[in-house]
């Protein structure tokens, strides 16, 4: 129940986008094509980012954690992208401030209350500067997948 198996088709390394909207559109389309989310997900996601942005203030490389309503999700997963150049997301805690984001971890969650541990592990990634750097330095998609899978797995319990 708790363990999420990530899908290689939802992991993107060193991709090139200019805006948070472009990245979210791209990831939401991939999620929809792979059957993880319902049709309204992309719209809800983009609206949510405008009202309640998801850039997290931290040392570099910074993370954003876009997400939308659980009722639009078919199956829980994460979609992860590292960005070639920083893209500005608004700060979750101060919507007037921009955060240059290099790592996007889209939280695709169908049953939030059974995913407390996974969410905490994502917070651990946010708090771990070394690990965030490793994500960016991953030389292949498989390496990035492995890093993310291991960061959200149960190995430390």
């Amino acid at each position: 129940m708790e363990n999420i198996i990530l899908n290689e088709d939802l992991i993107y390394r060193n991709i090139d986008f200019k805006t948070s909207r472009e990245i979210e559109t791209f990831l939401a389309d991939q999620l929809y094509e792979n059957g993880y989310v319902k049709e309204g997900y992309k719209k809800a996601l983009l609206e949510r980012e405008q009202k309640f942005p998801t850039g997290l203030p931290s040392s570099q490389p910074a993370i954003a954690i876009p997400h939308a309503n659980a009722d639009l999700v078919n199956k829980t997963t994460l979609a992860v992208a590292t960005l070639k150049e920083p893209v500005e997301f608004k700060n979750m805690g101060n919507t007037k401030e921009d955060i240059p984001v290099r790592i996007v971890i889209m939280l695709v969650i169908a049953e939030p209350h059974s995913q407390v541990k996974m969410l905490q592990k994502v917070a651990d990634i946010v708090q771990n500067e070394e690990l965030r750097k490793e994500f960016l330095q991953a030389e292949t998609k498989q390496k990035l997948l492995q890093l993310v899978q291991s960061a959200i797995g149960d190995k430390n319990d």
Binding site: H67, M92, N94, Q120
Partner: protein
């Protein structure tokens, strides 16, 4: 006496889950009996009056109806988390009659 905290984020599901669980863990270790309720930021104004404290992960600029408010984003990012936790504890314990 059990204290009640309203924990809010954009959807009331993801970041508030992480923050609520950190608050509960810290307060129980520090002898403060607490119950948390998660909600969406948009529902805060209609609910907040019934709580001892409001903690949000995202920016909230609406009316808290006099309920003390603390931004809890640091509990997600880790930067300044200890200060925020003691601030939360102080806000709850100061209200003791």
């Amino acid at each position: 006496m059990t204290k009640h905290i309203l924990v809010a984020c954009g959807n009331g599901i993801a970041t508030s889950t992480v923050v609520a669980s950190k608050i509960k863990k810290y307060l129980s270790e520090n002898g403060v009996d607490v119950q948390t309720t998660q909600t969406r930021l948009t529902e805060v104004p209609s609910k907040v009056a019934n709580y001892d404290l409001l903690v949000t992960t995202g920016q909230f600029s609406g009316d808290t109806h006099g309920t003390p408010y603390i931004l809890g984003l640091s509990l997600l990012t880790g930067v300044g988390a200890d200060d925020t936790l003691s601030e939360i504890k102080d806000a709850l314990t100061k209200q003791e009659p």
